[in-house]
Symmetry: C2
Subunit: 285 residues, 2 copies
């Protein structure tokens, strides 16, 4: 196990929210789950900015960036857990990335969806312990305790049973929300994932938008450089008018075939409580 | 006037539909408007594929591509007018572009929204008579007769009063739907518009998605190369939960400021009947 030595001082997980705000009522249940797992050996520390509200976001851009930089660079914080997705990470990612110390890059970071923006930037800077997986707010999903438990067990222990079951030791991998990844293409935050297996998932889109994302992605340098693609679940899909005629897997397979990308089947990731952990870069034997 | 000589044979406008199907009931009213303007000197010819239906599209990919190639390459067709937007042009644009003869590139093409995909590809191949403007189905909008009349007057006569009022002779310009343009970034169809003023419009999106598109676009090579940006109308906006706090113009201006792009004000383009004509490349004196 690559996990942390828990015999010493308390392991502090810092929660920050680059996008939407965190519900203050989630703090106690989250801490209770951590206590049930680890007693007082693990502390989940919420940065106060998580509970701010500025329009769509957990505080203004400057407030969010400063808070995330503070926790990421702090020697008192052992791991960063993102509180919630939504939208907003693109507004603060460049400022955050510019201010991170080398120590900040060495920490584990866990999140997905909109947080993929920051994951991409961190991965491009060589951060070794990034993972696509549940955020704090996933507690509110059906069976959310399982998601949060999985997140904690990866953050604290790097527990192997938290991992997406299709990962193969030594095979490079990266995971993203499909739409978020499209909006990184051609930017300074486009992930450098040549040779990686790419896992994508989607939530709350019409099928034509899923098709459009694959049309986009499959005609990019990123697509030409990946080793293959696996499709996570597309959940809460919005009805397509008229019926789209293809399923999400037919869409993914069709665009992969057109682009010469090996389509490697389904992935156990999604905007749901079953969302398994995908460490960026993959797993070792 | 750069328009066509109408003293000779009939000017034939070919209607094709790379995305959603065309309502057959629109044919007679459209032809009546053309007859009212031009008598029998102009014919609006609908390719039969326009009325096919295959899931989301006006026929399957192969049917749509073949029909559009047929009309574009035909010596009997003087101009191409797109029947309707929606989604689907990315599925057929590469096949169409690969099959067009030089004569096809010389014709006028008129459309917007999803058709921007094909416009980008045609513009990159040097087509001189492309314009962002109303499609056939805009007849169904309130005051749609004005939109269709404007379209015909540009296609047939290149009438100056059809033009977007902010165009300046000699200033290069291009116009796109914001989301469609984002999905072209990094692809073989990304428009080559260095030195151009970019006009963008949006329809039926939440404000956070408009912000996300600007976040994307403003961090690309395309954004660094354009001479400035003007914002068309954002219509039928879907309520943002919570309220986004910024208007679409504040969003555009903010991202332009961050990226060092001159923000040049509003543009008279949109998914509405007032949608004025923007010739790709701009206008001459």
């Amino acid at each position: 196990m690559e996990g942390v030595n828990l015999t010493g001082s308390t392991f502090v997980i810092g929660v920050v929210a680059p996008a939407a705000p965190v519900d203050p009522k989630i703090v106690d249940p989250i801490r209770q789950i951590a206590a049930d797992l680890y007693g007082d050996r693990v502390e989940v520390r919420f940065h106060p900015h998580c509970f701010l509200s500025a329009g769509h976001f957990a505080g203004g851009d400057a407030d969010r960036a400063a808070a995330i930089i503070e926790f990421a660079n702090s020697p008192d914080i052992d791991a960063i857990w993102f509180g919630r997705g939504g939208y907003g990470t693109m507004r603060v990612a460049p400022a955050i990335l510019a201010a991170l110390k080398p120590e900040a890059l060495a920490k584990p970071y866990l999140g997905y969806s909109d947080l993929g923006v920051l994951m991409a930037g961190l991965y491009n800077r060589g951060a070794p312990l990034l993972a696509h997986g549940p955020v704090v707010h996933d507690l509110y999903r059906p069976n959310g305790i399982a998601a949060v438990t999985r997140a904690l067990r990866w953050l604290v222990e790097r527990s192997p049973e938290t991992l997406e079951p299709g990962l193969i030791p030594g095979r490079k991998v990266a995971a993203f929300n499909l739409t978020v990844l499209c909006h990184l293409i051609g930017t300074s935050l486009e992930p450098a994932i040549a040779g990686h297996e790419l896992l994508v998932e989607e939530v709350a889109e019409q099928m034509y938008r899923i098709d459009r994302c694959f049309a986009h992605l499959s005609d990019t340098r990123l697509a030409r450089e990946i080793s293959g693609l696996r499709l996570g679940r597309c959940t809460q899909t919005i009805p397509n008018e008229p019926e789209f005629a293809l399923t999400e897997e037919e869409i993914a397979a069709q665009w992969c075939a057109r682009a010469g990308i090996p389509y490697l089947g389904r992935a156990d990731i999604a905007h749901d409580a079953d969302n398994k952990i995908v460490p960026f870069g993959g797993i070792t034997a």
